[in-house]
Amino acid sequence: MENAGQGPAIEAINLHKSLGGRPVLRGVDLRIGAGRTVCVVGCSGCGKTTLLRHVCGLLKPDAGRVLIGGRDISAASGDELAAIRRNIGVLFQSAALLGSLTVLENVALPLIEHGVRPLAKAREIARECLRMVRLEGYESYMPSELSGGMRKRVGVARAIVERPGIMLYDEPTSGLDPVTGATILELIRDLRDRMNVASLVITHDMEAAYRIADGIAMLHEGRIVESGPPDAFRASANPVVRQFVEGRSEGPMSGAHAAGARRDG
C-alpha cells in the first residue's frame, strides 16, 4: 500500500506481541507509503491499538520490527527514539489533552518543550494549527470545557504542530455523532492532501474507512488477513472480511470476537 518509486513511511515486519500471556500480534506485516492513508480495521480486542502503539514506539515487539522512514523504532531508545517520534503525530482515542493546560498551551507544548523561541512564535504556530482544525477563538478554553469532537480536533492540532510526516489515529470517530465524525474524517483527508502525510487509522467503523482510506487492512487473530484498496476490500470473498463488513454475528469471527472482547487490544 505505497506509491511506486517511494520507500514506505511505515513498515511493520513480522510483528509478534503477547500481552498478559495472550498472543495479540502473530506476525503482522504492513507497509504504508508517503502520502497514503491506510485504515486497519478489525473487531475489538483484535490488536489494532497494540499495532498502533508499536508504530509510535510505546510498545516493543517480542519479535519483528517497525521501520519509520527506514529507521527501526522498535530498537531505538533515548535521543534516537525521540528523533524518530518527532516525525510522528498521534491522535489518541481519548485525545489525551493535558487537563491542566489550556487549548493553546496544549497545542504549543511540543514546540515549547523542544525549544522553539521566542514563545510568541510557538504560540503563533499553535494558533495556525488551531485555525487548520477550525478552532480559532477557543485558545483559552480548558479541555474539560470542550465537546468530544472539539477535543479530538485539538488533539489533531497538537499532533500536526511539528509538521510530522506520519499521522496515527486511534479510533478517530469513536464516541462522536455522525456529523462530528464526518468533520474529523474530512480533517484527516485534508491533512493528507495539504501535508502529504502517511496516515495509519485504527478503526472499526467501515463507513469511515471507505471515506478516507487509500487502502484497508483487516486484522484478525493477530494477523493481517486481507488488504487492498477500498473497492477491492468491499468486494472481498474472504469469509472473515464478509462477516465484518456485513456486521453479522454468525460466522468465522464469532469465537474470536467473544475472546477479544474480554480485552481490548
Partner: protein, 265 residues
C-alpha cells in the same frame, strides 16, 4: 496467617514502590542538574506543596507543641523541673515532631494529590501522549515536583518548629504558669543550631521519599478511576511508613554517630 500474609504483602509492595521510586529518582537527578525550561512549573508546584500546606502544617504543629509542653510540664512538675519545659519542647519539636509531622501531613496533603494527578494522567493516556511528543514525562512531571518539595518541605519544617514552640510557650505561660523569661532561657540553653539543621535535613530526606513514592505510584496506576484511588491510597500509606522507618535510620546513622555534640544556639 491471613494477617501475616497481609503484612508481608504490604511490606513487599512498599519495597517494590521504593525500588521504582529509586529508579525514578536516578532519572530525575540527571535532569535536576540542568532543569531546562522548568522554572515556571517548579514555582507552580512550590505554591501547591509549600504555600497551600501552610495552614494545615500550622494547625498540626501548634496543637502538637501545645500537647508536648502540657504533658512534659505535668511530668516535670513532680520533679520541680518546670524550668526545662521550654528546652524539652524545643528539642522535641525541632528534632522529631516538626520534621515528622510536617512530612506526614505533606505526604497526605501534597503526596496524595501528586499521586492522583499523575495516575489520572496515566489512565487518560496523557503520559503516553507526552512520550510520543518526545517529552520525557520524568523531566516534565517529576523534576518540578521534586525541586519544589526539596526546597519546600525543609522550610515548612522550620515553620512547624517555630509554631510548635510558640504553642508550647502559650501552654507553659497560661496553663503551667512558667514565666516567659524562664521558658526562653531554657530554650536558649538546651536547643542547639544542629537541632534545627538536623530537622531540616530530615525534611529534605522525607521530601524525596514523598515525591518519589507519589510519582512511582502515579506512573504505575492502571485501570481507570479505581486505579487512581488505589495509587493515591498507596502513596499516602507507603510514604508515611517509609517516613517513620527513615526517621529511625537517620537518627541511628546520622544523629548518633555524628551529631551527639554540637554548637550551642
Amino acid at each position: 496467617m491471613g494477617l501475616l500474609d497481609d503484612v508481608g504483602r504490604t511490606m513487599l509492595d512498599a519495597v517494590e514502590t521504593s525500588g521504582r521510586g529509586a529508579i525514578l529518582l536516578a532519572r530525575a537527578a540527571r535532569h535536576m542538574v540542568r532543569p531546562r525550561g522548568t522554572f515556571g512549573r517548579i514555582m507552580e508546584q512550590e505554591f501547591v506543596c509549600g504555600v497551600c500546606s501552610i495552614p494545615v502544617v500550622a494547625i498540626t504543629a501548634l496543637f502538637s507543641g501545645m500537647v508536648i509542653s502540657g504533658q512534659v510540664g505535668l511530668a516535670l512538675r513532680q520533679f520541680d523541673a518546670l524550668s526545662t519545659v521550654g528546652g524539652v519542647t524545643g528539642i522535641t519539636m525541632c528534632r522529631e515532631l516538626g520534621p515528622v509531622l510536617t512530612a506526614v501531613v505533606v505526604a497526605g496533603f501534597v503526596g496524595g494529590g501528586m499521586a492522583s494527578a499523575i495516575a489520572t494522567m496515566k489512565v487518560n493516556e496523557e503520559i503516553d501522549a507526552l512520550e510520543v511528543m518526545s517529552i520525557d514525562p520524568v523531566r516534565y512531571l517529576v523534576v518540578p515536583r521534586l525541586a519544589a518539595m526539596v526546597v519546600g518541605v525543609p522550610l515548612l519544617t522550620v515553620f512547624a518548629d517555630a509554631v510548635g514552640i510558640w504553642g508550647g510557650w502559650m501552654v507553659g505561660r497560661y496553663t503551667l504558669g512558667i514565666p516567659d523569661a524562664e521558658f526562653l532561657r531554657s530554650c536558649r540553653e538546651m536547643l542547639m543550631v544542629k537541632d534545627v539543621w538536623f530537622g531540616m535535613f530530615k525534611g529534605l530526606v522525607f521530601s524525596i521519599i514523598i515525591t518519589m513514592v507519589a510519582c512511582a505510584q502515579g506512573f504505575a496506576a492502571e485501570g481507570g478511576p479505581e486505579g487512581v484511588g488505589r495509587a493515591t491510597m498507596k502513596s499516602v500509606v507507603y510514604s508515611s511508613l517509609l517516613i517513620l522507618i527513615a526517621n529511625y535510620l537517620v537518627f541511628s546513622l546520622v544523629w548518633r554517630p555524628f551529631l551527639d555534640e554540637g554548637v550551642r544556639m
